[in-house]
């Protein structure tokens, strides 16, 4: 039997508990540009919050899409905009990342516009409760903080080991990156930060500095630094994967979003 001639399963789409679906779609990003995005949603009609997953600099890859499905499994509508849609539409993630890097990286304003578009898309979906969180790892960690500073409708932000939120950016990088010191007073969402004590970017000292600044600005934040964990400890396909840190980190994320992305009332 070919796929084309296979009968549609009874009751498709499956709405039994634990079911979810994932698809590639198009959304309006910065300045209304149509960009690709990967969407995963839990089945059923239960009210749910949304999560925007910001992919890391190596791209809109399989592992990031896996995280999107993980959030759907946790009960959220989740979406990852392809930040390289403009430079390299249809290209493989690593080739697209190479083009984006050669072009100087993703400008901050465009990133913020793309996250805003993704958040608006999530809020437009059936059963959305209107709450939207953001999360990113590595470069995406910085961008998660950036989005929560520049946008006023993010309900919870997660920064997983983002470099250059604080600290001096070395000259001559040829990429459009600055620290976020001028933006931090505008942080408009509770922030969960997950870090490794073996990481130097951000270093434990920079994490402490960020905590000090957020306290000074009166911001709601929660940081966890894992002993023995280095940069990238959430990445199951990389040597830095750290099972205890990643497992506890996922639990912290679930609790954080459970608290801040639940429907009011």
């Amino acid at each position: 039997m070919t796929a084309e001639s296979a009968p549609t399963p009874a009751g498709f789409p499956d709405t039994s508990p634990g079911s979810l679906f994932a698809t590639t779609t198009a959304i309006a990003g910065h300045e209304g540009d149509e960009i690709e995005a990967y969407l995963a949603r839990p089945a059923g009609s239960r009210s749910r919050g949304g999560v925007v997953v910001i992919h890391h600099m190596p791209g809109y890859d399989r592992e990031t899409k896996e995280m999107v499905r993980h959030f759907a499994e946790l009960g959220y509508d989740a979406i990852c905009p392809n930040l390289y849609s403009r430079e390299a539409p249809g290209a493989s993630p690593d080739d697209a990342a190479a083009v984006a890097r050669a072009n100087g990286g993703v400008p901050d304003d465009r990133l913020v516009g793309d996250v805003a578009g993704a958040a608006a898309y999530l809020r437009s979906l059936p059963y959305a409760n209107g709450k939207v969180g953001v999360i990113g790892h590595c470069s995406g960690g910085r961008q998660s903080v950036l989005a929560a500073c520049r946008l006023d409708d993010i309900d919870a932000a997660v920064d997983c080991y983002g470099a250059f939120v604080v600290g001096e950016v070395p000259p001559g990088l040829n990429l459009k990156v600055t620290n976020l010191l001028p933006d931090l007073p505008n942080l408009s969402a509770p922030l969960l930060g997950l870090f490794g004590d073996q990481d130097q970017h951000p270093s434990p000292e920079q994490v402490a500095e960020l905590g000090r600044l957020l306290t000074e600005h009166g911001k709601d934040f929660e940081f966890h630094t894992y002993e023995g964990a280095g940069h990238g400890f959430f990445a199951p396909n990389r040597p830095a994967y750290n099972v205890p840190a990643a497992n506890d980190g996922w639990a912290r994320i679930a609790a954080f979003y459970g608290k801040h992305l639940a429907a009011e009332g």
Binding site: P58, E87, A102, S139, L173
Partner: protein, 88 residues
């Protein structure tokens, strides 16, 4: 970390890409950052590309820092072993 460090230059040569096709390469991007495939936290990465042919016209290598130094030394030794007049 994402080091963000990126060095670009123009080159003139050829590379054999995915699918076994040779193509002209006009650009290189060199950076020390997370690899896609190599089992190291950071590697010296080189992209040989022809941007005019699209994102997939790329030959990529990811080398440990020590390997990258060996490559540089090997290239310099190979070039030093031939008369200057041959380098045309």
């Amino acid at each position: 970390m994402c080091t963000y460090t990126t060095i670009k230059d123009v080159i003139d040569g050829s590379a054999k890409g995915a699918g076994g096709e040779w193509f002209h390469v006009s650009d290189i991007t060199v950076y020390f950052d997370h690899p896609v495939h190599a089992m190291a936290e950071h590697t010296l990465n080189i992209d040989f590309t022809d941007p005019s042919r699209g994102p997939s016209a790329r030959v990529a290598v990811e080398l440990t820092a020590d390997s990258a130094v060996r490559l540089v030394e090997a290239i310099q030794a190979a070039l030093a072993a031939v008369p200057v007049e041959m380098r045309v």
